[in-house]
Amino acid sequence: MPKDSGIGASTKRREDIRFLTGTGKYTDDINIFGQTYVHFLRADVAHAVLNGVDTTQAAAMPGVLRVFTGADFEAVGSIPCGWQITDKHGQPMQEPRHPVLAHGKIRHVGEPVAAVVAETREQARDAAEAIVLDYDELPAVMDMKKAIAEGAPKVHEELTGNLCYDWGFVEENKAATDAAFEAAAHVTTLELVNNRLVANPMEPRVAVGEYDRADDMHTLHTTSQNPHVIRLLMGAFVLGIPEHKLRVVAPDVGGGFGTKIFHYQEEAFCTFAAKALNRPVKWTSTRSEAFMSDAHGRDHVSKIQLALDADNNFTALRTETYANMGAYLSTFAPSVPTWLHGTLMAGNYKTPLVYVNVKAVFTNTVPVDAYRGAGRPEATYQLERVVDMAARELGVDPIALRRQNYITEFPYATPVAVEYDTGDYHATMDKLIEIADIAGFAARRADSEKAGKLRGLGINSYIEACGIAPSNLVGQLGARAGLYDAATVRVNATGSISVMVGAHSHGQGHETAFPQVISEMIGIPEDQIHIVHGDTSKIPFGMGTYGSRSLAVCGSAMVRAAEKVINKAKKIAAHLLEASEGDIELKDGSFSVAGTDKSVAWGDVTLAAYVPHNYPLTDIEPGLEETAFYDPANFTYPAGAYACEIELDPETGHVKIERFSAADDFGNIINPMIVSGQVHGGIAQGIGQALLENCAYDADGQLISASYMDYAMPRADDLPFYSVDHSCQTPCTHNPLGVKGCGEAGAIGSPPSVVNAVIDAIQSGGMNVAHIDMPLTPSRVWAAMHGARTNAGAAQPAAGSSDTAHARSIGGAA
């Protein structure tokens, strides 16, 4: 019987009511009396010396309050980077200054150069057109390999070059890894591109700055996944506003997927200008601006090699990756290709030796940072493609090859510095084989072939790391923040509960799922519990939501705070029942004395805490409210197996997803309905990356894919119904809920199976195509099938060509 409330129930989401009736409160729905509007003039060239900005005419236009330029921000700090990587020689990464408005130089198309604040949005926009920029264009730095070659133009003059860092991991493993390759019976080598993507939450970013002169109080309303992080970064590092004079509010947020983690210039601008003008200042991004100012994702060019012995055991793995940072370091950018990528390169396999090299490179493009999965999709894609390719080269079954090399004993210390606490990769593969009906594939392929189509089946495993922690470890790895979270459980006098959490919900359904946990612990109905999030003036200092951390980290803090509440309530109950505290049991919202029929209801105990007439005042304080901070002992490691089945039209190269199946192990599950929804969304983004999406620049640094007319978002008819299962559960061993996190798995686990399926289909047609770079658009697939080079940019080189992935430019036409 499925439960109808508490942990494990598919409780319907309470937040849906406001979203379904148009009464949600997103940042753009906020309008403050006296509000003004800012329009940013953005660079339309990628790289230039900025000699001057003439604002005279614009400043005189109707409704204009003031025109700001880079010079107005000389006294404020740089937009900070939250993670410092140490390179393989022990040196810190190169870290350029990141101004609020461009000053002296333009470094990417879309960089804000000037800002007009006016009485209306239209007036601000009109006036921005009257600003005259005086600049001298420079050659754009676009190709990562060329960028770090001797004599390349520099994105930042003050740096030694365009190499941010050259990272080796684990450097001590390198010699042994190379030796293992020398001794290998077989080596599979694959060069590939992990295509640049744009996160594209449907709500564009918005910021509203407000200043109250009477008490010198700043408020920023912003579309953020982590308001406390923004308050700290912007207050302490950019604008010099102490936290107690700065409130950051992130109300309903229309999706994030990583790109709303970071602190952006527009937030600092609106906060700064609101004080300068003593008026509220609002900015609403257009979609076109979003494409050229939201941090992008992925954009890795990699070469991966897998060594196997004569029995097909994996003996070593090494990879070399060029990771595009863009023009500036976004908040967590340096950590993505390193600690969120290198540490996952062992995957689900007991490969004894792994060496990862990453070169992070500055280019004249929009900054690149975490996008759903962040580093883990890039690791999984490389690994699961090279394993599939090895199976083909060796003529063995790709499932059997994986199974043979699976890690089966836990805890397992990988050669890349992490320890998997638990897992069962055979179980998820068994489940996948069942739900994907792999047994029926041959018959379905025969049917497709009868219809003149090719059919392919691709599978892959994946493992990821969520709830990144503990703080003392990440501190050693370069994080400039702690990665704990916090919750306050406030029990009200009549027994209802408000929980203030550091996590932020922007689609994940925390307002519904978190009460399920508290309800289970105390035994009161879910609707007696209310979740408060997204406002630094109301919630404790928590780190927000990203990296599938909300439940594993903030949920654990909430459990710890609730345990403190329950312990105190038991003391009160013991007093009321005249029993010893050790004999008190809490069940179904009632405290009882073990072995007796004496009991007192939850609400009577909470009332006693706030009306302490009959109360042990000498022993305990009145009131019932507790806060806990939780710093995890380790990452969590969700894992699973995915299968994609496609039909390929050999006439056109068009790929249609026929079936998609996902068997995940997320540990314990609080709300299965929400978990399935998270997996669905992740899979759609992964299929989008594999088949449709590509953020492309031309050689001059112009963004070619800057709207939904050029950037192919997955739509309903591009996608099938998915078959998802999360019944394989090995609970996390180190957090109180035994949960692992489910937000990113779909996006991490799905791209390799899609590409594996297309390669399978093509090879079933007798064509020897080993690899095609994502997105697998009809033109790329068709060209690969016909042995041609698909395009001059990022596409697949012809077989035998010396034109390697490493020599290619970023992006390129799809």
Partner: protein, 160 residues
């Protein structure tokens, strides 16, 4: 320029610039902020409303063009007592929304589909949603919700 129209059964008037879009009039002048803006190229459908019973992307129409028209937005979808419409209820029952940003447009589009085609196939639902982008749900539960709202049995693959 002056205009008068009916929005969700209520007579309203306004004074707008010629270039003001219907969506901006709804959001900024009438404070009906349930209708969203997700793009600037008429691609995403977050702004979808009904104008004289027809499905319209309100970012693609000037406010003055709606002079004299009957406009329906998400704020008018539920019954006056707050009871959700069949489609709204199906979206909640089947988890057809996550962040909620695309949702008003999806609900308005679904209402139009089911009016034209009360028993659509899965393929027809997906085709009809062509102009509405959702980044959160992967569409699985949106399609499922719309089919459920049409009172049809769920295809086996949609079970999970």
């Amino acid at each position: 320029m002056k205009l008068s129209l009916r929005v969700n059964g209520r007579d309203v008037t306004g004074d707008v610039e010629g270039r003001t879009l219907l969506v901006d009039f709804l959001r900024n002048d009438l404070r009906l902020t349930g209708t969203h803006v997700g793009c600037d190229t008429s691609q995403c459908g977050a702004c979808t409303v009904h104008v004289d019973g027809k499905l319209v992307k309100s970012c693609t129409m000037f406010a003055v063009e709606a002079d004299g028209a009957e406009v329906a937005t998400i704020e008018g979808a539920a019954a006056p007592d707050g009871t959700l419409s069949v489609i709204q209820q199906a979206f909640q029952d089947h988890h057809g929304l996550q962040c909620g940003y695309c949702t008003p447009g999806m609900v308005m589009t679904a209402a139009s589909l089911l009016r034209e085609n009360p028993k659509p196939t899965e393929h027809e639902v997906r085709q009809y949603l062509e102009g509405n982008i959702c980044r959160c749900t992967g569409y699985h539960n949106i399609v499922k919700a719309i089919m459920a709202a049409s009172g049809q049995e769920m295809p086996a693959m949609a079970a999970e």
